[in-house]
């Protein structure tokens, strides 16, 4: 039923335009029912988009190849899970998913914030409507997922590299992140339009921002896991422009999450925060543009792309519009409070902001430079990993160091003496760890040794913060367990944040392990030959062949031993997919949790004489990267968990305001009652 899908999308477009135009008029004129009608249009737009998505989903699930999109991205033999994930395997489906998440988020954000930001909310509705309308226009007029054709016997299948469980989860998480970051952007713009530039819009959108940021961060890590297992070059992050596309908004959003705390606590950095959230949203759009416009292949494929110029135009409108709005509101954005000391928690957050934004802009330059060069000079250039690695170290290490120092610095002002006393123990731990690691051989890579020393410092600082807080509560008569849970429960944002910091440290340790200390060997093996890498001996046993639902498999089977002990077998090879008529590398992976390392095998050339080219890689500490993902989610959940005391505080404040609003009448009633009660 492509007709129903097309009609639902057209309806969604009309509803979103209604929300934008009528909502804007209602906000301007202060018309309540008209505004409620515009807000209802946002909800109805979600319903219509959900119907359109369901139509496409059913076509994919039931192999209706009269839908061109289903024909291009599925086949009869494709396993069900990948038929479902093919919904976001192509451009039109991805954009539809963007719009579905956006309309849902917009409707929910408006519905849940009715009481919190009364002055700002009216303007959020038309801005949400305008952003949604852009995606609806693209889907209705430029890149429709409901194009039809004469029914072919089978589909073309899904790109083999996308037939991976991590790829089934990675894109939706990125979209949740990108789209979720729309919420703080929209409320920031609405606050500027309505001139309600206090911190209320920040409080109202805090959890949305945290959720979006966590989803984006976890999505990036799932993408890295996919690259590690599916792309099969032995690494986990290659500074690929598509990877960087998601990293840039995440870095700026991280800076924003820190700097808004200063606005909440001291009403400072108002201009900086709206700049950060505008930049975050623009980078999220830029990321979608990069991955969907074809611009990364070449400028020429961008020119041929149906949506590239649309996205570029929209990014220009968003950037220009938000800049004009910020500049026009500068007088009311200026804060009265000032930074009291350069040695304070807020100053430390500011330094962290500068490093994070500098890193994001450096990555942006690395992504943009090849595009600019090709467009202006006609010369295609590439910016390689050394460029990114250099700046990741230059800006990343100070960020890590600040993660360890900042918790020891008091808000408003601190003293060098107090700070020195606080950091003495963690610094001692770091120095001891650094010396031991240097003796153990880690000095072969100075950046890694510095990274590990800083990591030890941060971990010691985090442990010290937890220990000190728990001890303080324990001395008040609570059990250790109750003191610990109470500490985290009453300060979720702070201690959840520390857990997130710990995850970043784990990531750093893992990344440094893979980057500086992995070992690799490429050899041609005949049956019976063996190869040794870092204590592992692999003996080539021969070739195995098999088949799955939609592919044939060729595998080189290798016996693994270590120190004379048999460790089983490992196999690596290639898959040949029938419908797609493509091959993919399938790596062999053996994880040793005790040693904290991976044995990683690539076999990508099978010769007729029975020999095979095998690359064996030993990746130390790589699993800490994946463990970091789990810790990151845990920390984010703690930070996100609703705080009953905060809800109570807001409710009390609204109650006090309601009392104030009914004040004169109430006082009159009091006065009339007073004589009789005396």
């Amino acid at each position: 039923m492509p007709g129903l899908g097309r009609a639902a999308l057209a309806l969604a477009l009309v509803l979103l335009l209604y929300a934008a135009v009528v909502g804007g008029y209602a906000a301007w004129k202060g018309r309540r029912r008209l505004l409620e009608s515009a807000q209802s249009a946002l909800m109805a737009a979600f319903g219509a988009t959900a119907v359109a998505t369901a139509v496409l989903f059913l076509a994919l699930a039931f192999n209706d190849f009269s839908f061109r999109y289903a024909w291009e991205h599925t086949s009869r033999d494709l396993p069900v899970i990948y038929r479902i994930s093919s919904l976001w395997g192509g451009q039109e489906g991805s954009l539809l998913l963007w719009m579905l998440v956006l309309t849902l988020t917009a409707a929910a954000a408006v519905a849940f914030n009715r009481k919190l930001v009364t002055g700002v909310l009216p303007w959020a509705t038309p801005i949400f409507g305008a952003i949604g309308a852009f995606f609806a226009i693209v889907l209705v007029f430029v890149s429709t997922p409901f194009a039809t054709q004469a029914l072919p016997p089978d589909g073309l299948g899904l790109n083999p590299s996308l037939q991976n469980a991590y790829m089934a989860a990675h894109p939706p998480l990125l979209y949740l992140g990108y789209v979720g970051l729309t919420v703080p952007f929209v409320f920031a713009m609405a606050a500027l339009v309505s001139r309600r530039v206090d911190e209320r819009w920040i409080v109202a959108t805090r959890r949305w921002t945290l959720f979006a940021w966590a989803a984006l961060g976890f999505g990036i890590l799932l993408g890295a896991k996919w690259a590690y297992e599916e792309v099969g070059w032995g690494g986990w992050y290659a500074w690929d422009p598509v990877e960087n596309a998601a990293l840039m908004p995440w870095l700026v959003a991280t800076a924003y999450l820190h700097s808004v705390m200063i606005q909440e606590k001291k009403n400072m950095l108002r201009v900086w925060n709206v700049i950060l959230i505008s930049l975050t949203f623009s980078l999220a759009l830029f990321g979608t543009f990069l991955t969907r416009s074809g611009v990364l292949n070449s400028i020429h494929s961008f020119a041929e792309s149906s949506i590239g110029s649309w996205f570029l135009g929209f990014i220009a409108v968003v950037t220009l519009g938000s800049t004009v709005l910020i500049v026009s509101r500068l007088p009311s954005l200026r804060a009265r409070a000032k930074l009291e000391s350069m040695l304070s928690r807020e100053a430390a957050f500011l330094y962290n902001n500068l490093f994070l934004v500098a890193l994001a802009l450096t990555v942006l330059w690395g992504v943009a430079w090849p595009l600019v060069s090709e467009a202006v000079r006609g010369v295609a250039v590439t910016v390689g990993a050394p460029y990114y690695d250099f700046f990741a170290i230059i800006f990343g290490l100070p960020i890590v160091l600040l993660m360890g120092i900042a918790p020891f610095i008091a808000w408003r002002r601190s003293s060098w003496r107090a700070l020195a006393r606080q950091v003495a123990a963690p610094a001692g731990v770091a120095v001891v760890a650094g010396v031991l690691l240097a003796i153990g051989g880690a000095a072969s890579s100075v950046p890694a040794l510095v990274g590990y020393t800083f990591s030890a410092f941060v971990l010691a600082a985090i442990v010290s913060e937890f220990a000190r807080g728990t001890k303080a509560r324990h001395t008040n008569g609570r059990s250790w367990a109750s003191a610990f849970t109470g500490l985290v429960g009453r300060n979720r944002r702070r201690y959840g944040g520390y857990i997130v910091h710990a995850s970043i440290v784990l990531l750093l340790i893992g990344a440094a392990g893979v980057g500086a200390f992995s070992s690799s060997k490429l050899v041609q093996l005949a049956p019976g030959d063996d190869v040794s890498v870092k204590g592992y001996t692999l003996t080539y046993l021969g070739v195995e062949q098999g088949h799955t639902q939609n592919a044939t498999e060729v595998r080189a089977l290798l016996a693994v031993s270590r120190g004379g002990n048999d460790k089983g077998t490992i196999s690596a090879g290639r898959n040949r997919y029938f419908a797609e008529d493509q091959t993919s590398n399938e790596i062999g992976l053996r994880t040793d949790w005790l040693r904290g390392e991976d044995l990683f095998v690539i076999a990508d050339r099978f010769d007729p004489d029975g020999t095979v080219f095998v690359q064996v890689i030993v990746n130390p500490l790589v699993n800490l990267i994946w463990l970091a993902g789990i810790v990151f989610v845990l920390g984010s959940l703690i930070t996100l968990w609703p705080d009953a005391r905060e809800q109570r505080r807001i409710a009390e404040r609204l109650e006090a305001l309601a009392t104030f609003r009914s004040g004169p009448a109430g006082r009159i009633a009091d006065r009339q009652v007073a004589p009789t009660t005396r």
Binding site: M1, P2, G3, L4, A7, A8, L11, L15, Y18, G30, R31, R32, R33, L34, L35, E36, S37, S40, A41, M43, A44, G47, A48, V51, T118, G119, P122, D198, E199, R200, K265, N267, F408, I409, A410, W411, R412, R413, S414, S415, R417, A418, L419, R421, Q422, R468, G469, A472, R653, A656, L657, T659, F660, R661, G663, P664, A665, R667, I668, R671
Partner: protein
């Protein structure tokens, strides 16, 4: 478009129209103004927030002092400053409860009588 698709699309369109028109179908109240804060109410809310901010800052200062992150001398200066801020907010809130500073007075309503009384 097939007949079934057409009927379903028409049904979807009808439901959407009802949803959008619902605020008008549901309520016939004459008051159609937005529930916005006037200047006095906005000021009151800002004061309530400033009070809560000052109290939260005091609590954080206590924790920082207890954990040795701030010297006694700095603590004394800051605690006095924050207490003054909190006290000032509370005093202004209390005063505003008695006499709203810029609430529009109705000529013959209770607001003007009350304002005169306080």
């Amino acid at each position: 478009m097939s007949t079934v698709a057409f009927v379903l699309a028409a049904l979807l369109g009808f439901v959407c129209i009802v949803v959008v028109a619902w605020p008008y179908l549901r309520s016939h109240e004459r008051d159609d103004g937005l529930d916005a804060l006037d200047a006095a109410e906005a000021e009151q809310l800002a004061l309530l927030e400033a009070r809560d901010r000052a109290i939260a800052a005091l609590q954080e200062l206590e924790i920082d002092h207890r954990e040795g992150k701030i010297t006694d001398a700095d603590y004394r200066v800051l605690v006095n400053q924050l207490r003054s801020e909190a006290a000032a907010s509370i005093a202004t809130i209390d005063a505003a409860r008695v006499e709203p500073p810029s609430k529009p007075a109705k000529p013959d309503g209770p607001a003007s009588q009350d304002t005169g009384d306080s």
